[in-house]
């Protein structure tokens, strides 16, 4: 696999506060990465450093194996950080023209990219007249101008209404489907879960996990159960070493597995023991549950 960005022992201190602590990870071509972390966990700072706007205290990072300087590498990167920043007095088309000039790409792509984000009919309107959702979409168009090798998105749906969020997500999915590498920083986990194949989890500037989403915690999933005779069920579950933690919430028993077991086997087992279930669901932890487990444990 071809590394696009590798970060080595990156540290950033703001006075006494350490925003990023000894962080290392690699972004490979073709994957969709999520950077997860609560507010203030150092996501934006990390992105700021690799995007040349924040100076690192120590450590280093390399774009495309370090073959080009950072600002030349950034010409092959599309990035949106927090809020869309454009010249308010220029129209959308003029703003994009400026970006073309900076990146050294041809102006011909402007209309095409505006069409991708559905802004073609507003291209000659001033940026200051745009709604937040439109501004964010323009930012995506701008990031796509150079057909980037990697698209970096920092909280792309922050502050948008449901339609706006939906539109942005759809655009991201479409771009990911084309095989563009994406790095998405967010604290909205379902957002990450829907599009990412890999995650990097940060807390207080430290890396807790990096790797594939489904391998984030070693878990065999859990059963959600309901039955008439709850006490009997609980007694059995507690005596079976295959089950670890057991929780009861609103008549629903949640039993976490220590060993792999499928629903059919379990149902059969219950029936043999004379326990008739009225509700049986096998689930894996959602990204949110995994994330909370990971950040609470340490």
């Amino acid at each position: 696999m071809e590394p696009i960005l590798s970060i080595n022992n990156l540290t950033k201190k703001f006075g006494y506060l350490t925003a990023v602590k000894d962080l290392s990870f690699t972004i490979n071509k073709g994957n969709v990465y999520g950077i997860l972390g609560p507010n203030g966990s150092g996501k934006s700072t990390t992105l700021g450093i690799v995007l040349n706007v924040v100076n690192s205290t120590s450590g280093n990072f390399k774009w495309f194996n370090g073959t080009v300087s950072t600002h030349d590498a950034l010409k092959k990167v599309g990035a949106i950080i927090e809020r869309p920043n454009f010249y308010p007095y220029m129209t959308a088309a003029q703003n994009l023209k400026l970006v073309c000039r900076i990146k050294g790409v041809d102006h011909s792509k402007i209309d095409k990219k505006l069409e991708v984000v559905n802004l073609l009919d507003r291209k000659d309107h001033k940026f200051s007249t745009y709604s937040l959702g439109m501004k964010q979409r323009l930012a995506i168009a701008s990031a796509l101008l150079n057909d980037p090798e990697i698209l970096i998105l920092d909280e792309p749906t922050n502050g948008l209404d449901p339609q706006g969020i939906h539109q942005i997500r759809q655009i991201i999915k479409d771009i990911a489907a084309e095989g563009t590498t994406i790095l998405l920083a967010s604290h909205l986990l379902d957002e990450v879960e829907k599009v990412c194949s890999h995650v990097v989890v940060l807390r207080k500037g430290e890396k807790l996990y990096s790797g594939r989403v489904e391998e984030m915690i070693s878990s065999h999933g859990f059963f959600e159960l309901k039955c008439e005779n709850q006490n009997e069920l609980l007694n059995y579950l507690k005596s079976n070493p295959d089950f670890g933690n057991i929780k009861v919430e609103n008549q629903v028993v949640t039993a976490f597995l220590n060993e792999p077991m499928d629903a059919v086997t379990f149902n059969k087992l219950m029936f043999e023991k004379g326990i008739i279930l009225s509700h049986l669901v096998k689930r894996k932890e959602s990204l949110e549950e995994q994330f909370l487990q990971l950040t609470d444990n340490q």
């Binding site: 995007l51 040349n52 706007v53 924040v54 300087s69 950034l74 990035a79 920043n85 007095y89 000039r101």
Partner: protein, 274 residues
């Protein structure tokens, strides 16, 4: 270089405020120059014709026009300061860097623009002075016309120096209004230091040191021409004599300040987290 200049020109010329200010900074000195060169008749009581005073004679015209035109540099100074302030307040500086502009290129694009406008201003003023001179001057021999054209060079250097100072203040305080206030503070500060040195030592030393201060050194490039005009009217008054010529050491001092300001602006941006 052309790419960076184009970039900055697009930012400036699409902004209505800076477009107007740039226009004014070019047109106003021009208008004043042309108005002063025509004959004004005050309702038949008397006619005012500045040309009669001999101020439009070669070579003194170079001195006079550059001196008065440089008083209008403040308009473009506002543009320079706001072109930094706006980048900070719109956060477009951050976006520019993310899009792949290096910090060095960012400063250079501003500096090239400063050079470009200084050059255009110098060219305009030299063309205008040349034609007004041709019309009014009693002497139009080539050798006399060319004499003292180094005032044009001084004018050019003076503009670049002053705008670089504005650029630096803009980078330092990030806000246009504060940057302009800093200019004023620097002006006062130079005179306060001058006063202190005069008080501690004497006026002579103080003046010599003051000549190295940024604003004073820029002012020194083109000394006021009024006294010179008086000299031509009263040639026998020797106490009016003063040194009004453009000196190489004066140009060198201003160029040094220019490079210091540009270098510091770059260092400042390099060090800053955006």
């Amino acid at each position: 270089m052309l790419r960076l200049l184009n970039l900055e020109l697009q930012k400036l010329l699409l902004n209505r405020t800076s477009k107007i200010l740039i226009f004014v900074s070019f047109i106003l000195p021009f208008t004043v120059l042309i108005l002063s060169s025509i004959k004004i008749n005050f309702f038949g009581f008397f006619t005012l014709e500045l040309g009669e005073l001999g101020i439009f004679n070669f070579p003194i015209i170079w001195h006079i026009t550059t001196f008065f035109a440089s008083q209008f540099k403040f308009f473009f100074a506002i543009v320079v300061v706001s072109m930094i302030g706006n980048e900070y307040s719109n956060k477009t500086l951050k976006q520019n860097l993310i899009d792949g502009l290096s910090k060095k290129e960012f400063i250079l694009s501003k500096f090239y623009t400063i050079i470009f406008f200084s050059l255009v201003a110098t060219l305009l003023i030299s063309i205008a002075s040349f034609f007004i001179g041709l019309y009014y001057s009693s002497y139009t021999e080539a050798s006399i016309i060319i004499r003292e054209t180094n005032f044009l060079l001084a004018y050019f250097v003076k503009l670049i120096g002053f705008f670089s100072l504005c650029l630096f203040f803009g980078m330092l305080v990030k806000r246009s209004a504060f940057a302009l206030a800093f200019l004023f503070i620097l002006y006062i500060l130079e005179w306060v230091i001058f006063g202190l040195i005069t008080w501690q030592a004497n006026m002579d030393i103080a003046e010599k040191i003051q000549n190295f201060f940024p604003l004073k050194s820029m002012y020194n490039l083109i000394d006021q021409p009024i006294q010179r005009v008086m000299m031509t009217k009263f040639p026998d008054k020797s106490e009016l004599m003063y040194d009004y010529a453009v000196h190489w050491h004066e140009i060198t001092i201003v160029l040094c300040w220019t490079s210091i300001f540009i270098f510091l602006s770059y260092k400042l941006l390099k060090k800053r987290d955006l």
